[in-house]
């Protein structure tokens, strides 16, 4: 190899690295991926938040596309998200919203929903966070889209608002249908 050509190796290496860094700028490094995409929703059998309802299992959720929303009253972003969820669940009649009340006080959770409205068809009580771990949850709020076969198709970390619903959830759900 020509000696002069060799001297271009550092600048070539640097430009490649710069390209990588440019790629890095456009993304959010703090977004943790889910290992459960395209895998079945984990099995569970947990109490319901509704006073007299029996235990809920995965079979109770099946029968169409549904949204699993992990929430808690101690989580400030969940309070921000709640009105949007109410609005969206009223609009999207054919999709059921399932809540996972994550490491929360059952009493406070019931009160919260009674006062502010309940967007959820079913509400699973995950008091010790074990189901959260099975879902690979890192905190709240987190939202999963599950198809009619019970397969997890998408996971969203953080608040859902109308824009996020329209931009990511709605097209995805249309596609699954």
């Amino acid at each position: 190899m020509n000696k002069r050509v060799k001297l271009f190796i550092p600048v070539a290496f640097f430009l490649a690295m710069l390209g990588l860094l440019f790629f890095g700028l456009g993304r959010d490094p703090n977004q943790v991926p889910s290992a459960l995409i395209n895998r079945p929703l984990p099995e569970f059998s947990l109490p319901s938040l509704d006073v007299e309802a029996p235990q809920i299992t995965k079979a109770d959720l099946m029968g169409g596309i549904f949204i699993v929303n992990v929430w808690a009253t101690w989580c400030p972003p969940c309070h921000i998200e709640h009105p949007y969820l109410l609005e969206i669940s009223k609009r999207e009649k054919d999709i059921s919203f399932v809540g996972v009340n994550y490491k929360d006080s059952v009493k406070e959770a019931r009160q919260f929903l009674a006062e502010k409205g309940d967007p959820f068809k079913l509400n699973i009580v995950d008091s010790d966070g074990r189901f959260g771990i099975d879902l690979g949850v890192a905190g709240a709020p987190e939202t999963f889209v599950v198809d009619a076969n019970g397969t997890i198709r998408y996971r969203h970390v953080g608040v859902i608002d109308n824009r996020i619903w329209a931009e990511t959830f709605a097209p995805l759900i249309a596609k699954i249908k």
Partner: protein, 157 residues
């Protein structure tokens, strides 16, 4: 903007995430405790910026520590526990990336580079042996250097 705000809210709930998670776990044997420490040292807290399970105060880190402690107490092996965690959180949770085709260069790249470096030394030695000149600086160069350095000194008080 929402995203940024959200990130802020999410992370502001973990001011303690960078330091000590000080808590007590009971184990049957020192070996179990050592295994526990090793596992929580090598696993990443999924919601933190960059901290392992042992170094994080985040609630999820505490939950995962309890989970690992419970599984150790139940007699699960390290491999089983790691499989349990990666099936839920992906390889992201491992601070020691598993060796596979994607990480081959990560693990062996530096060794290959070191090898290449030693080949360079060998080649240079051969070339040097072939070279006959004794002086490091050519006569012209050393004169120049001398002149420069002397003029340096002269300008000094």
């Amino acid at each position: 903007m929402t995203k940024f705000f959200l990130l802020f809210v999410l992370t502001c709930s973990l001011p303690g995430q960078a330091w000590a998670a000080i808590e007590v776990h009971e184990f049957d044997s020192p070996e179990q405790e050592a295994r526990f420490r090793h596992l929580i040292d090598e696993m990443r807290c999924p919601m933190c910026l960059n901290a392992n399970l042992s170094g994080s105060d985040a609630p999820i880190a505490a939950d995962l520590r309890h989970e690992i402690a419970d599984q150790i107490a139940e007699g699960r092996s390290d491999e089983e526990i790691i499989a349990f965690m990666t099936s839920r959180y992906g390889d992201f949770i491992l601070y020691r990336p598993p060796l596979n085709s994607a990480t081959f260069f990560l693990w062996f790249g530096p060794a290959l580079l070191l090898l290449a470096g030693f080949f360079v030394v060998r080649r240079m030695l051969r070339q040097s042996r072939a070279a006959t000149t004794e002086s490091a600086l050519s006569a012209d160069e050393s004169n120049k250097l001398h002149a420069i350095l002397d003029s340096d000194s002269d300008t000094k008080k």
